[in-house]
Subunit: 366 residues, 2 copies
């Protein structure tokens, strides 16, 4: 088992990464559970079927446990699900000494985390991620739900009390989910850890290469990058914005596609990272050999450009509504080289031109 | 004009108290507004009619301002109003550099504050209280909305960036509102400031006595008590619970009456304070001359016992669902003497007996 500690200004909490560590939850959480009155496991219908009763059985010797589920998928990150979960908290008699377990992927982590953040003005919660993508979202305390007009526009910063990462739960994931989650690892490597990037490029030639015992090492290294950034800037006032590398275009692609599964989060981020590298070159702040990066990402079956069915103007309109935009100015995280990110406000005309080229597979630098 | 500073672990902010200081808002807020992109004034229909356009006119030379209103009254502290306000934030193009002004009483402060706390995971807001009761709720960062199953069960701690208390806005309040707000002042005096309590008893014989220029001194002193407690315990992990003096029964009375205006918050708290003093005597931790306290509160037209139409069992069931209850245990703030509060878990049987006596106007100690 591997372990990290996340430090923020007000608290610190452990991240445990190991195979079948769900069984060890009572030991790992230890005294944290001692003064807790009740537990509520929040999960989705798919994950709950696989691991819900198991986690309940494991926790029940320690404290009363109930389970509530929402349907699987992004649509559950809604005001309606949020209200349903708060009602469950009240009906199950949760108080400020109770604890919520977020058992699932990023949707559940965000939704259950936001419920924990705002039920009685905040009760503790434990992240139990069951997807690779959630290795990113389960650490750092961002919680939230979607508004019909935009993703993650409603939320709070609320750090979990612990993260239990049972990599045994990843084995049931389809390749698509592995690929989606691995993009966030690649992102962490690009923005802060050139050695990790090198290691990944050497060791991961196809998606099958991450579905091995090495995944726990990768996870620890990737989460360590996030931990370092969150420690410096919990509330996204500064360098935490670097985690947005690949996400300005990425989020716009997801939004424009209607979050209907045409493009996964990781695929959108991969296309976004390539675009940000091209943009970095275009502005003269870097000299990426973009083709080389593209070849690696292509070998992992990531898209490397914005699909041409989305108009450049539509994508830009979506970018302007992003939380990170300010007074309509679009911000991009650019990369001088691996480990050296920079935050830039980008002119809309330049974006239109580059996006149009990108969609035609034409760029000046590769 | 009077001024205080509220200090919490992560930030400090000013409270300005003065007659007609709305006009001075740009000067008072000073550099805080300099980097703000937009302002949204959130108010209720009544208050907006009186002061909405005025505040908009005052702020407009500095930054773009829009107004959104919800109906007057507690019913607006709902999930539906919350969602409506978040939609307005998005539609008005608010970003993380924008600011929300909460113009109104406690309902607006809580609702607008919770919107600010959770829009894009938190944007700044300024409290502009227009009731006496809001002198309490506008300071300290508690924000929230009601759930059909309980009051204030959904919320967040989110400190305002400033509090602008224009006592000119109080002149339009009916006596009932002055009385309701004054109860929180009395509470602050009881739990922490015996000299203030003495001063109030000497100077305030009827409600008319608070509707004078002295109100600004009273406000400063009362807010100073709250500031001291919030500084020590922002997140209600310890002594902040003392602010709940009079509120265990008070909240239960409000809840049981259905928040329909039969009993104001301050009236419920007044009855609750008297009950807590009786309970303190009953448990042998104090020797209040309860009749003396009752006489003063009666002269101000406060109820001094729980109205007999609410069954003791119903009130106790409501207490058990309070946020401060833990595993169904009912907690009371008791008073050894003015300035010496204590937090006690109280046996349900004793409560039933005392409540029944209270409602019959019978107690052993007065």
């Amino acid at each position: 088992m591997k372990q990290l500690t996340i430090n923020t200004s007000n608290q610190s909490y452990p991240v445990y990464i190991g195979n079948n560590i769900l069984e060890e939850a009572p030991d790992l959480l230890g005294s944290f559970l001692d003064d807790k009155s009740k537990a509520l496991i929040i999960s989705d219908t798919n994950v709950s079927e696989l691991y819900g009763d198991k986690l309940k059985r494991i926790l029940e010797p320690i404290l009363p446990v109930s389970i509530i589920t929402v349907p699987n998928g992004e649509h559950s990150k809604s005001m309606a699900s949020y209200e349903k979960l708060l009602t469950a908290c009240i009906e199950q008699g949760l108080d400020r000494q109770s604890v919520i377990f977020a058992l699932g992927g990023g949707v559940i982590g965000d939704l259950a985390g936001f419920s924990a953040a705002t039920y009685m003005r905040g009760i503790p919660f434990v992240q139990v991620p069951t997807t690779l993508l959630a290795h990113d979202s389960s650490v750092g305390g961002k919680t939230g739900i979607n508004h019909p007009l935009g993703k993650n526009l409603i939320g709070a910063f609320h750090q979990p009390s612990a993260v239990l990462y049972d990599t045994g739960t990843l084995t049931t994931l389809p390749d698509e989910e592995w690929r989606s989650g691995f993009a966030e690892m690649i992102k962490h490597a690009y923005i802060q850890d050139p050695d990790f990037l090198h290691w990944l490029k050497e060791n991961v030639k196809t998606i099958a290469d991450i579905k091995t015992d090495k995944i726990r090492q990768f996870l620890k290294r990737s989460i360590a990058v996030k931990a370092e950034i969150v420690k410096e800037d919990e509330r996204e006032a500064g360098i935490r914005a670097f985690l947005n590398f690949g996400h300005t275009l990425g989020h716009a692609l997801e939004k424009t596609s209607g979050y209907d599964g045409q493009i996964t989060h990781g695929e959108a981020v991969a296309a976004g990272m390539v675009f940000a590298m091209r943009l970095s070159n275009e502005l003269g702040i870097s000299a990426w050999n973009v083709s080389e990066e593209i070849n690696w990402l292509k070998s992992l079956n990531y898209p490397v450009e914005a699909p041409s069915q989305y108009s450049a103007q539509k994508l830009i309109n979506a970018m302007k509504k992003d939380k990170k935009a300010s007074a309509g100015n679009i911000k991009f995280v650019l990369l001088k080289e691996p480990g050296r990110p920079l935050l830039y406000t980008i002119d809309e005309k330049l974006l239109i031109e580059l996006l149009t080229n990108d969609q035609r597979g034409m760029t000046r630098n590769d």
